[in-house]
Symmetry: D2
Subunit: 151 residues, 4 copies
Amino acid sequence: MRARQISVVGSGSEWEAQAEQVGRLLAGRGCTVVTGGGDEVMAAAARGARQAGGRTVGILPGESPSAANEWIDFAVATGAGHARNLAVAASGEAVIAVGGSWGTLSEIAFARRLGRPVVVLGGGPEVEGEGIARATSPEQAVELALSALES
Amino acid sequence: MRARQISVVGSGSEWEAQAEQVGRLLAGRGCTVVTGGGDEVMAAAARGARQAGGRTVGILPGESPSAANEWIDFAVATGAGHARNLAVAASGEAVIAVGGSWGTLSEIAFARRLGRPVVVLGGGPEVEGEGIARATSPEQAVELALSALES
Amino acid sequence: MRARQISVVGSGSEWEAQAEQVGRLLAGRGCTVVTGGGDEVMAAAARGARQAGGRTVGILPGESPSAANEWIDFAVATGAGHARNLAVAASGEAVIAVGGSWGTLSEIAFARRLGRPVVVLGGGPEVEGEGIARATSPEQAVELALSALES
Amino acid sequence: MRARQISVVGSGSEWEAQAEQVGRLLAGRGCTVVTGGGDEVMAAAARGARQAGGRTVGILPGESPSAANEWIDFAVATGAGHARNLAVAASGEAVIAVGGSWGTLSEIAFARRLGRPVVVLGGGPEVEGEGIARATSPEQAVELALSALES
C-alpha cells in the first residue's frame, strides 16, 4: 500500500528549522513528504524527512528534474510554472504551510478548494476559514494534520 | 494597439449585480474584460461589459470553448482545470475580485505573486497585503484598479 | 453569437507567407484566429487575419500578455509553458498546422486527442491518422478545415 | 543521489506484457519508472518495476492521488488534465513509448521538444525524427534509452 502523502509548502529562510522538524516528524509517522522541490522551506522539509528515513517527492515548476534540491528522492518536472502549485496542493492528503507568501497562499487556497485539510504554522499567510487550523509548533502542526485525516 | 485587459474574478450569485456593474464600467473605460468564463460573477461581469459595448475573454477550465457563458466573445479552453486560475490572474493587468471563495483566493494570490494590483470588492476572501486594495462599490473598484496601473 | 474559432499552429519563417494567407482566408470566412501568440507562423497568421478585418487571440506560454505579437487583439498569458499547447489545440474547433516541429506535433496530437479535425499544410510534421487531412495550399487548408466542421 | 528516472508512456491492453517487461528491466538497471499513473501500459510498466524491486512514480491528470494504479509508490495529482503529459515527458531523462495513440504522441512530441531521447517500441505512433529510435523488443528499448543517456 502507498504511504500517506502530506504536502509541506512555504518559504522564508527563517522558517527552515521548523520546516525541517515538520519533515522529520512526518517521516517518523510513515508519511511521504511532498514539496515544491525548491529551496528554503521546501528543502528543509525534505531534508528533515530524509534524516528520519522518509521518502520525498518534489514537484517542480520547471522542465528539468535535476533542478530539485538534493533531498528529493523523486523529482517531477511539470514545466507548468506556478501552475504546479495546484499539483503540490492536490498531491497531499493534507497540507502544512510553514511561513510563505503569495505562492504559499495559492497552494493553501487550492488545497481548500479541493477539500484538503490545511495547517498553518505561525508566520504563514493571514488566511482563515473552514478547514484551516493554526499551529504554534511543528509537533502540533503534524498532529493537527494527521488527526484531520482520521476524522 | 491592444486594449487594456482587466480580469474580474469571484463567485456567488449575490454578487452578480455588482460584478455586472464592474464589467460595464470597465468596458466604458475601454478595457477588455477577462474572466474564467463560467457562471455567476464571471457571467455577470461579461454581461455588463457587453452591454456597454465592450469585449470579453473567457478562460475556461475545461476542454471545450462552447462551455463559455453567452457573453464571452473569445473563449479559451485551457483543459487545465483549476490551473487555469493562473491564466486568469496573469492575463489581466489588474484583477478585481467580487465575492468569491477559495478559487478566487487562489487567483488573488497568483495575481500578487505576479505583481498585478488587486482590488477586492466587499465580500471577497479575507486577504490583506501589499498591492491589495479594498473597495466598497463597483465605481471605486474600477477606479482603484485603473489608477494602480497609472502609477 | 460567438464567432467560430480556428487555431493556426506551426513555426518556421519560410512558412510565414502561407500562414498569413491562411489567417486572411479564415478572417474572410468570419472566423476568429487563435494562435500561440508568438512569432513566425503565429504572427503571420494573426497579421493576415487582421488585414482581412478579423479578430485574433494569442495563448502565450509566459506570464505576461504584453509578450504577444502586435497582431494579437486578445492575449491570454497562461504561465504554463509548453502546457499551453493544449489550450491552443482545445480552443479551436479545428486546427490548421503550417510548417512546425515538435511543439506543433504536440498541438496536433492534443487536437486529435480532443477530436478536433486537423489540416496539415505541406511541410508540417510527418503525421498521419484519422482526422488529419493534408493540404497543398492555404485555400485548400481553410476549405478542408471548415468543411470538416460542417459534416 | 537520486536514481535515474525513465518515463514509460503508451496505451493499449495488447502492449501490457511488453510494458511490464520494460518496467522490470528498467528497475533492474536501478531506474525509477515514471508513468501517467493510469491503466494498461502505465499500470503494466509500474507492475513490472515493482516486481523487480524498483520504485514507481505516477503523474495523474486528476486531482486525487488515490486514482493511481496500485503499483504506483508515489502519486502526483496534477489536476491539469492532458497538460500533465508535459510533466510525464519532462520527468524522465529518456522516454520509452509502448503502443499508444494521440496522447502518447503528445508525450513523444514534448519529450523531443525538451531534448529527451525517445525510444518507440513497435506499435506506437508513426513518428520519426532526430532523437527517436525504434526498438523491436523490451530489451532493445531499454538498452537504446540508457545508451542514449551515456553519449
